[in-house]
């Protein structure tokens, strides 16, 4: 199983530094959720690990450098499910999933039989085999998210990055996608690093949380250690109540502030 290590990551856009030296470890087969307020640098961190944004510092996968190496080899180590994937007009599900085989195909080459086998296996695993010939535009949001995940899995990389994987989905599809990732982590021994907005889901599905604030890892640890009302207030500026579900999971519930008249009560007449 692949261990992901990040040391002293500094990165930004132009002169604007977003990450100010982030250290992060994800053990082999572990799921770590990166949480933090908007603009904290969650997506930037994932970009750096995926290698699409140049950075200072080190990214290692099982001890081997994963940044500063050839694009092709890096994409065999790290696969990414972007937050807003570009969906090419008119492309079929199978063709799209086959794009995930690019790291194994020479620039001038075409897919081999083994690439096709991998794509079909992934489609079957994600219950998409009946949709192979469908056009991407004809899929629902939940199906599309699974197809994007399928493309990342076709890369057969030991580290999977998820950038807000459930933002656009309803509660049923959120659960479906996260359960799927959880299963795959077990069956394929994948190491997962996910930027997550929903604190309750992050607490529920990940093994550990890393709280990123203004480009620095402010806290890291188990959900009950990181998700305290005090920490959430300080960094998100939100009043929350931390509850426990009957199953023992941490639940973060926003609390309505008193003293602000609701628009309904001061409204008409």
């Amino acid at each position: 199983m692949a261990r992901l290590e990040c040391r002293g990551l500094r990165a930004g856009y132009g002169d604007h530094e977003v990450l100010h030296g982030v250290d992060l470890d994800v053990a082999g087969g572990e799921w770590v959720a990166v949480i933090g307020p908007n603009g904290a640098g969650k997506s930037t961190l994932l970009r750096v690990v995926a290698g699409t944004l140049p950075a200072r510092g080190e990214v290692r996968v099982t001890g081997n450098p994963a940044n500063g190496i050839a694009t092709k080899y890096r994409s065999r180590l790290v696969a990414m499910v972007p937050q807003n994937p570009v969906i090419p007009d008119g492309m079929t599900v199978l063709d799209y999933v086959l794009l995930g085989r690019t790291p194994y195909i020479p620039v001038w080459g075409m897919e081999s039989g083994s690439d096709l086998r991998v794509a079909h296996r992934v489609l079957a695993e994600l219950d998409l085999d009946t949709m192979a010939d469908r056009v991407l535009q004809s899929l629902s949001g939940g199906e599309l998210q699974r197809v994007v995940l399928a493309r990342a899995l076709a890369q057969e990389a030991p580290v999977l990055l998820l950038d807000e994987p459930t933002t656009a989905l309803d509660v049923g599809h959120q659960q479906q996608v996260l359960e799927l990732v959880d299963q795959l982590r077990a069956t394929r021994s994948i190491t997962v690093l996910a930027a997550m907005h929903d604190l309750t889901l992050a607490a529920q599905y990940s093994d550990r949380l890393v709280l990123l604030v203004a480009g620095r890892a402010e806290a890291a640890g188990l959900a009950d250690e990181v998700l305290t009302a005090d920490l959430v207030r300080r960094h998100y500026g939100a009043d929350v109540t931390i509850l426990r579900s009957p199953e023992g999971n941490v639940v973060v519930v926003p609390r309505k502030r008193t003293g602000h008249p609701s628009p309904r009560s001061e409204g008409s007449l």
């Binding site: 995926a50 290698g51 570009v86 492309m91 794009l99 620039v107």
Partner: protein, 343 residues
């Protein structure tokens, strides 16, 4: 919103067969149709005799054989190369910029070649220096576009490159207009060149253009899968193991050099680079693995068909081929725009 249907592979196969048969038909018509009629059978026998290691008596007079070999064959071969090159380069540009309206002239090839040719004519240079001047102008113009886009910090975004192309193109067009004003006595020659022509095709032109077209088409053909990968955008392409900036540079360089070479020989033949890849896309689907090779074949057939029209409509006179391609291309372009709006 209308959802495009996936194209079955049988449809793709049929498209290749249709494209190949059209091209063959156009080649045969191209060598037989003209002021001197030569029978298709005799022409085929003559070609078989010369090209294949077979000895067949065509029954053609020496004069008719010369018409085929010295006038029509080079014209057909050059026309096919130009059509294949412009259509494939257009398809590649559309892929690399993810912009369905991109064509091979997007980054300044046309404006640069036009200015090069105009400057050469204005300076009193002979017709034989025109291709060299046009080629130099085209390559310099695209170089300038790339330079300005980089200087603007837009190395990584194709939108900056397109905008830089617009700026360079407008500037060069202004200089060209000025030069035309200054040397109005040669303006007719400039216009003839700008509208494109295949009428004076020779084997030496074919031989000059051939290496550029072969190398360019080979590179674009090799990169057809990479173009599919680039369709998910540069950032995602990078996570899939493609170097988007380098891939884009290779594809643009190949498409530009090939287009500049054919444009410098035949003048500006418009719309082929847009019409053909879009027609192919409508029939055979969105994958560049199909669009590029099929555009080569259909582009060649399309330009030969346009050339047939150009030399028969007002026979014995000839229309500039650029007029014919624009006449067919512009309405088709409007149809594409309507379809895009509708979806």
């Amino acid at each position: 919103m209308s959802i495009p249907a996936a194209v079955p592979s049988s449809m793709r196969r049929r498209s290749y067969i249709f494209g190949g048969l059209s091209l063959m038909a156009m080649v045969i018509l191209g060598v037989t149709v003209g002021p001197v009629r030569i029978g298709a059978g005799a022409a085929l026998r003559e070609i078989t005799d010369r090209v294949l290691p077979l000895s067949v008596d065509s029954g053609l007079s020496e004069q008719d054989a010369a018409i085929i070999w010295q006038l029509r064959a080079p014209r057909v071969v050059l026309g096919a190369m130009v059509g294949a090159m412009l259509a494939t380069a257009g398809g590649a540009y559309q892929g690399v910029f993810r912009n369905p309206l991109a064509d091979p002239y997007l980054l300044g090839v046309a404006a640069g070649a036009g200015l090069g040719a105009t400057a050469a004519l204005a300076a009193g240079a002979g017709a034989d220096t025109l291709p060299v001047a046009a080629f130099a102008g085209a390559v310099l113009a695209v170089g300038a576009t790339y330079y300005f886009a980089r200087a603007a910090g837009g190395r990584r975004t194709s939108a900056t490159l397109i905008l830089a192309g617009v700026a360079v193109g407008s500037f060069l067009a202004a200089v060209q207009t000025f030069l035309q004003q200054q040397s109005s006595d040669r303006i007719r020659e400039v216009f003839t060149w700008l509208l494109g022509r295949l009428s004076a095709s020779t084997w030496s032109q074919v031989v000059t253009v051939l290496p550029y077209v072969v190398v360019s088409l080979a590179v674009l053909f090799a990169y057809r899968r990479v173009l599919d990968v680039l369709s998910v955008g540069e950032e995602e392409a990078a996570t899939l193991g493609v170097k988007p900036v380098r891939a884009r540079l290779v594809i643009i360089a190949a498409a530009t050099l090939g287009s500049a070479a054919v444009v410098s020989m035949t003048g500006l033949i418009g719309f082929v680079g847009i019409v053909v890849p879009h027609a192919v896309r409508m029939v055979a689907g969105v994958s560049y693995r199909v669009i590029l090779p099929l555009s080569m074949v259909v582009g060649a057939a399309f330009l030969l068909a346009a050339d047939l029209l150009a030399r028969t409509v007002i026979s014995p006179g000839e229309l500039p081929i650029g007029v014919v391609t624009a006449f067919v291309g512009a309405p088709f372009f409007a149809v594409i725009l309507r379809r895009r709006e509708a979806s």
